[in-house]
């Protein structure tokens, strides 16, 4: 308890926390980069600097600064690197969407995304701020574990419901209420992570209990397979009803990693992966839409898939864009990323890869890795098991989603309907991922027990 006392003395004495000072400088750096990106885009496309830059720059900068000051007041020991890294990605996304808007305007189009993205960014950061303000401690969420389950399942199933469910590009991942479309699966991943964390913490001992032995392998007890079967059924239901392998893989992968960390039993992962791969293979045979995605993935250059409606055209055009970018890229505004359908959302990473090159792709991957690793660091250091599992789940879900999306664009996996966190145009995705950041920041404030005992770190 000496450590909390030390913190209080700091606060009483009005000492400025070191982490927040690091954060604000890194934020200034990120704001600078974001402004530079917008300026570069204007100069290389419309060849003049206009005040529009402020429209796309200032809201994110102001909102992030406000969040920074909330952290100073309410979570002064929160991680200092997460916020600047996310701001860099979010700003880069806005800049690239703005760049694609300029191309749309030049071609006479009217469907623009950048301003909406700015609004959503502000809403999302406000939500993250609310999380920091109102989630009072890392244990607060533990009270809402079963409510989270219900909320999560309802959100997950809602796109398949009549009247509000909406299909876009073949995947049934959206709901549409009063003209606003929303991807509830994005928010569901938070609710389900909270539920998984709470459930697994209470049940870990019984789940870890040793069952019968079969050819030298310690099997779990049959009744402990219940939860994994339930989650498997839910993700299968998602796969069938929403026709998206990515969403189903995301939830199932999340659950497997969390149950593994909670119980320490790899057999769950082996059994779970086996079940998932089997069901995915069957789905690719039985469901035309999933099968088409598999075929496009394996032979995208084959004219039969390339020319098919909903075939590999988009994937191949994305590959052309990436290849065009080569090592250093064409420079922001220098390429033709607008040739790829959905360049501002599903294929934002191909747009960025074209204009920023392999160097930019590695930088983006490094930013994701940074965010994920800071989250995992919280999980490592936290003394409370619920918080440990929750931060692990939240960090892993960001990593897995990034992997599924970028892997889909670069042919590591079949293409899916998920969006690139923080970069892609889309309100639900921004909102959900910023709430995750809010939670990570909140929990990290109470994490660093080791640091307070003299181990230094940011």
């Amino acid at each position: 308890m000496t450590s909390t006392v030390a913190i209080d003395i700091q606060k009483i004495a009005g000492v400025v926390p070191r982490k927040r000072n690091i954060e604000i400088w890194l934020l200034f750096f990120a704001f600078g980069i974001n402004a530079f990106e917008l300026a570069q885009i204007q100069l290389s496309t419309i060849e003049i600097l206009t005040f529009d830059i402020l429209t796309y720059w200032a809201p994110l900068a102001v909102a992030a600064t406000v969040l920074h000051f909330i952290l100073r007041k309410k979570a002064s020991e929160a991680d200092a690197l997460i916020l600047p890294a996310v701001v860099l990605l979010n700003g880069l996304g806005i800049a690239q969407i703005y760049r694609l808007d300029l191309a749309t305007i030049a071609a006479g189009g009217t469907e623009l995304f950048a301003f909406r993205q700015v609004i959503w960014t502000v809403v999302a950061i406000a939500a993250a701020s609310a999380v920091v303000l109102f989630v009072r401690s890392h244990l607060f969420l533990r009270r809402y574990v079963y409510i989270s389950m219900v909320v999560g399942l309802v959100l997950l199933i809602s796109p398949a419901l009549p009247f509000i469910g909406t299909s876009i590009n073949g995947a049934q991942l959206w709901i549409s209420i009063a003209g606003l479309t929303f991807q509830p699966g994005e928010l569901a991943k938070i609710a389900l992570t909270i539920f998984f964390a709470g459930y697994l913490v209470t049940r870990r001992d019984s789940l870890a209990a040793v069952g019968p032995k079969f050819v030298g392998i310690q099997l779990p007890r049959a009744r402990d397979l219940g939860p994994i079967l339930a989650i498997w059924a839910v993700s299968l239901l998602v796969l069938i009803s929403q026709r998206d392998l990515g969403t189903s893989l995301l939830y199932f992968g999340l659950f497997l990693v969390m149950i593994y960390v909670a119980t320490g039993r790899a057999i769950y992962v082996v059994v779970g992966l086996g079940m998932f791969v089997t069901s995915a293979l069957i789905a690719s045979r039985v469901l035309d839409y999933v099968g088409g995605r598999f075929a496009s993935w394996l032979n995208p250059f084959d004219p039969t898939h390339y020319d098919a409606i909903g075939g590999s055209y988009q994937l191949v055009q994305g590959l052309f864009g990436l290849a065009h970018g080569s090592v250093l890229g064409t420079g922001l505004g220098g390429g033709v990323p607008q040739l790829v359908p959905l360049a501002e959302s599903d294929f934002i990473i191909a747009s960025l890869g074209e204009e920023l090159g392999l160097a930019g792709m590695f930088a983006i991957l490094a930013l994701y890795l940074l965010i994920v690793s800071r989250g995992l660091r919280v999980a490592f250091n936290h003394s409370d098991d619920f918080s440990k599992l929750l931060t692990l789940g939240l960090s892993f879900v960001v990593a897995l989603q990034t992997f599924i999306v970028i892997g889909g664009v670069t042919r590591v996996l079949p293409l899916t309907g998920l969006t690139t966190p923080f970069l892609a145009a889309g309100g639900s995705s921004l909102l959900a991922n910023w709430i995750i950041i809010g939670l990570l920041l909140r929990i990290s404030d109470t994490a660093d027990s080791r640091e307070r005992n003299g181990v230094s770190g940011f």
């Binding site: 570069q40 100069l43 290389s44 990693v257 593994y260 960390v261 909670a262 320490g264 250059f301 390339y306 191949v316 590959l319 052309f320 864009g321 990436l322 290849a323 065009h324 970018g325 080569s326 090592v327 250093l328 420079g331 390429g335 033709v336 040739l339 890869g353 090159g357 392999l358 792709m361 590695f362 991957l365 994701y368 890795l369 994920v372 690793s373 995992l376 999980a379 490592f380 098991d385 440990k388 599992l389 692990l392 892993f396 990593a399 897995l400 990034t402 992997f403 970028i406 892997g407 670069t410 042919r411 590591v412």
Partner: protein
């Protein structure tokens, strides 16, 4: 739980490493292949984004890019059809041919020799400007060659035998490359279809490619060189000289041109047979020498090889596995012997240049936008097919052929010219292919020329190399010698 967390970290690292591998594969390893995919329009867009370099002749652009106010920022403009065979065309819809294709990396500024400019462009944000390509062509000689062919179909190649530099290269009919460079796809497509359908194949550079020609009697120069180079013959070696010759194993008789007896004696020297262009002595010489000896000599002259000047020439052909009758026919350039005018010019160049062929070349210099020279090829030996003494002996025969023989229309007052005409038969009733190749001045050659005229020059089987091809060659040689 931290032990399990560490393993999860490895899983996450593996996911990100696989993304790094996949992006590296696409953006670096497979990037060139993806860039070349015909469904990828990005490379074509790219080529219109920067100002493409000009192709210059004696400092004057013959192909250049002009600022344009539509989506394509530049329009390619061609000055004259006289150069269409050399420049080829550069079209958004039909791709590129000729030097537009062969020198594309320089013209677009993408050549590795422009690396520092590319880095500079990346840093400054200004696009790389393409480099300009200056040709070895002499515009006056080119004009003379173009005009001399007039309405005839065919080709002219003139080169400097001591350097291999090409002084003139004409292929007729030419085409208007501007019609393909237009930005309107339908117009460009229609114009292209029309040019493709044209029976005179204007899109083919007849000097170096196309369906190739039977060389006829100009090939006797090569056979004479092969005979002397073998050491078994001299220019004065006597060959049997009957009025008619039955091809071995057939009932076919061949005759000398004009049904003459080639000097009227029972035997004739190789030199006289070349001077008077007699088929029967050469047919017998061919059988005696054998097809292998002739083929080996032909290959030393460059047969069977393509040459990048940097336009890629088609390889000329001396057939294989012939019987004696076919070998006899091949010795005076008939049967399936097929050549390009460039190959015939290279053959004459070896005679003119003491047995050595310099690599034919069109590029004088490549100059970047900031006026530094990126690429200036120096003369390069292509092959050494015959000894100097063989070259001297054949040169004398070729001088005789022009000065006192049947290649008389290439004579130039006050200058000794060496040369050989050819009148090649094609099908039974098809018009002849007319040839002249030679060089001047014979003792210190400054220009080698090869002229081919298709379709008997419009005179069917009445056309002769000496009447139609030799005068064209004469004008071209005179134009060079005037300088």
């Amino acid at each position: 739980m931290n032990r399990e967390l560490k393993r999860v970290v490895f899983v996450i690292m593996a996911m990100f490493v696989s993304l790094m591998i996949s992006t590296s594969t696409i953006q670096v390893l497979a990037a060139d292949d993806l860039g070349r995919d015909p469904r990828n329009v990005r490379s074509v867009y790219d080529s219109y984004k920067t100002q493409r370099g000009s192709i210059l002749v004696d400092g004057t652009p013959i192909a250049f890019s002009e600022a344009s106010d539509n989506n394509f920022r530049f329009l390619r403009v061609y000055e004259s059809q006289m150069y269409s065979a050399i420049t080829g065309f550069f079209s958004f819809y039909q791709g590129a041919t000729g030097l537009e294709s062969a020198m594309n990396s320089f013209l677009t500024g993408k050549n590795s020799s422009q690396f520092f400019e590319q880095v500079n462009a990346l840093l400054s944000g200004n696009p790389v400007t393409g480099a300009s390509v200056e040709l070895t062509i002499d515009p006056e000689v080119q004009k003379v060659a173009w005009d001399a062919l007039g309405k005839l179909k065919g080709a002219v190649v003139a080169l400097d035998p001591t350097t291999g530099n090409i002084i003139a290269m004409v292929s007729k009919p030419g085409f208007d490359a501007n019609k393909l460079a237009v930005h309107d796809g339908i117009t460009s497509g229609n114009n292209y279809a029309e040019l493709l359908a044209d029976a005179n194949s204007p899109l083919v550079n007849k000097a170096i490619s196309g369906s190739l020609y039977a060389p006829g009697s100009v090939f006797k120069v090569l056979v004479a060189a092969a005979a002397i180079e073998s050491g078994k013959y001299t220019a004065d070696s006597m060959l049997p000289n009957p009025a008619k010759f039955k091809l071995p194993g057939t009932n076919t008789f061949i005759q000398n041109s004009g049904e003459g007896k080639c000097g009227g004696r029972a035997t004739v020297s190789i030199a006289d047979a070349l001077k008077l262009s007699c088929n029967i002595p050469f047919a017998q010489l061919g059988i005696e020498l054998g097809q292998n000896a002739i083929r080996e000599q032909a290959e030393k002259f460059g047969f069977g090889k393509t040459v990048d000047i940097p336009l890629r020439s088609t390889a000329s052909v001396y057939p294989k596995n012939m019987d004696d009758a076919q070998t006899a026919m091949s010795a005076f350039g008939q049967f399936d012997v097929r050549v390009t005018p460039l190959q015939i010019a290279m053959m004459s160049a070896a005679i003119a240049n003491n047995g050595k062929i310099m690599k034919p070349n069109l590029i004088e210099n490549v100059v970047s936008a900031n006026l530094s020279s990126l690429f200036a090829p120096s003369p390069q030996e292509f092959a050494s097919p015959i000894s100097q003494s063989t070259a001297d002996a054949v040169r004398k025969m070729m001088i005789e052929a022009v000065e006192r023989g049947v290649s008389s229309n290439a004579r130039i007052d006050g200058i000794t010219v060496a040369g050989k005409t050819g009148t090649a038969q094609n099908g039974e009733d098809d018009p002849y292919t007319l040839w002249f190749t030679g060089f001047a001045p014979a003792d210190n050659p400054r220009v080698v020329v090869a002229v081919v005229i298709e379709d008997g020059g419009g005179r069917g089987q009445a056309g002769r190399g000496n009447t139609l091809a030799a005068p064209v060659a004469k004008k071209v040689m005179q134009a060079v010698l005037r300088k």
